[in-house]
């Protein structure tokens, strides 16, 4: 699965804001941190704002703030603001889809899509933030 640029920027921005609850960050600060275009980030932040995930605060010292519970907002919630994931992403039937091989392939791809959606829906922002910090410690019980 390859995420679109806007989707990746959105995930970076939301993670950065969610890691600092209640604190405001300007688009420039976020763009600098991830080496991304501030214009592109601005468009992404507007989409996140319309979805109620991010709040823009105007004026001197203004910026953006995360709105929501990082233990309940998932990667899928963010990704679906920018692109479709799973069967919905395939809007029109592909050539050969009605053949035996096409139907079989469709079932396999559906299986993969279902797993992708379930995985993205199970990973919250809080988990993403933890994953970034977590290192495997030898001798500890591993969780699979």
């Amino acid at each position: 699965m390859k995420l679109q640029v806007a989707t990746r920027i959105a995930i970076y921005a939301v993670c950065e804001l969610a890691a600092r609850p209640g604190k405001q960050l300007s688009a420039g600060e976020i763009a600098d941190r991830f080496d991304i275009s501030v214009n592109h980030l601005g468009k992404v932040l507007r989409t996140l704002g319309r979805a109620g995930m991010v709040e823009a605060c105007r004026g001197v010292g203004g910026g953006h703030r995360f709105r929501g519970n990082p233990r309940r907002v998932t990667l899928l919630d963010i990704i679906e603001l920018f692109e479709d994931v799973g069967p919905r992403a395939r809007r029109s039937p592909e050539p050969g889809a009605a053949t035996h091989a096409g139907r079989a392939l469709g079932r396999v791809v559906d299986e993969i899509d279902d797993m992708t959606r379930a995985t993205l829906a199970s990973i919250t922002l809080a988990t993403v933030l933890k994953m970034g910090q977590r290192g495997r410690r030898p001798g500890r019980l591993r969780a699979e």
Binding site: R71, D114, S122, T124, T127, K130, M131, L141, A143, E144
Partner: protein
């Protein structure tokens, strides 16, 4: 089970985790029914007895706040086929709806993992439905990732 102590600020008692006893059955059935809508007293009685019969490798733990049961976790040490060494296996975890987002499930998870560790296993596994987003999110938050096994199934009438 350790006694629940009151916090110094006089707030609600801390949650403590201990081994489930027969008298916890009604609370376990109620907690499960709150989540699933099904009252399965016979099933949970059987699970309690099954765990009590082999306490070194089967664990049925309850979380208690004061005198109230607010959650439970059940698991055992399982020997695996396909060349895998034994691992800890969690097959049920539940927290009362009004007590969620307060770290109760994490306490239960940590407590059962400590017992798995003492039983000599190095890996803990579980297999929730992919539709059980809350349960999946919880296990993910504890650092669980996709393991090396793939669940396959087939309808027997197909």
């Amino acid at each position: 089970m350790k006694r629940a102590r009151r916090k110094p600020d006089g707030g609600p008692p801390r949650v403590v985790v201990g081994v489930a006893r027969a008298e916890d059955l009604a609370a376990v059935v109620q907690l499960d029914a709150e989540a699933t809508g099904l009252k399965k007293a016979a099933y949970w009685r059987d699970r309690l007895g099954w765990c009590a019969a082999s306490p070194r490798d089967r664990f049925f733990l309850v979380a208690q706040r004061g005198s109230e049961k607010v959650g439970f976790v059940v698991g055992d040490v399982r020997t695996w086929e396909f060349g895998a060494p034994p691992s800890g296996w969690i097959f049920a975890i539940n927290v009362k709806r009004s007590d969620r987002l307060q770290g109760v499930a994490t306490l239960l998870f940590d407590a059962i993992c400590a017992r798995f560790r003492r039983a000599g296993v190095e890996v803990v596994r579980t297999m929730p439905s992919r539709d059980a987003q809350l349960v999946l999110s919880f296990f993910r938050s504890q650092g669980m990732m996709a393991g090396p096994f793939v669940l396959l199934e087939k309808r027997l009438d197909a």
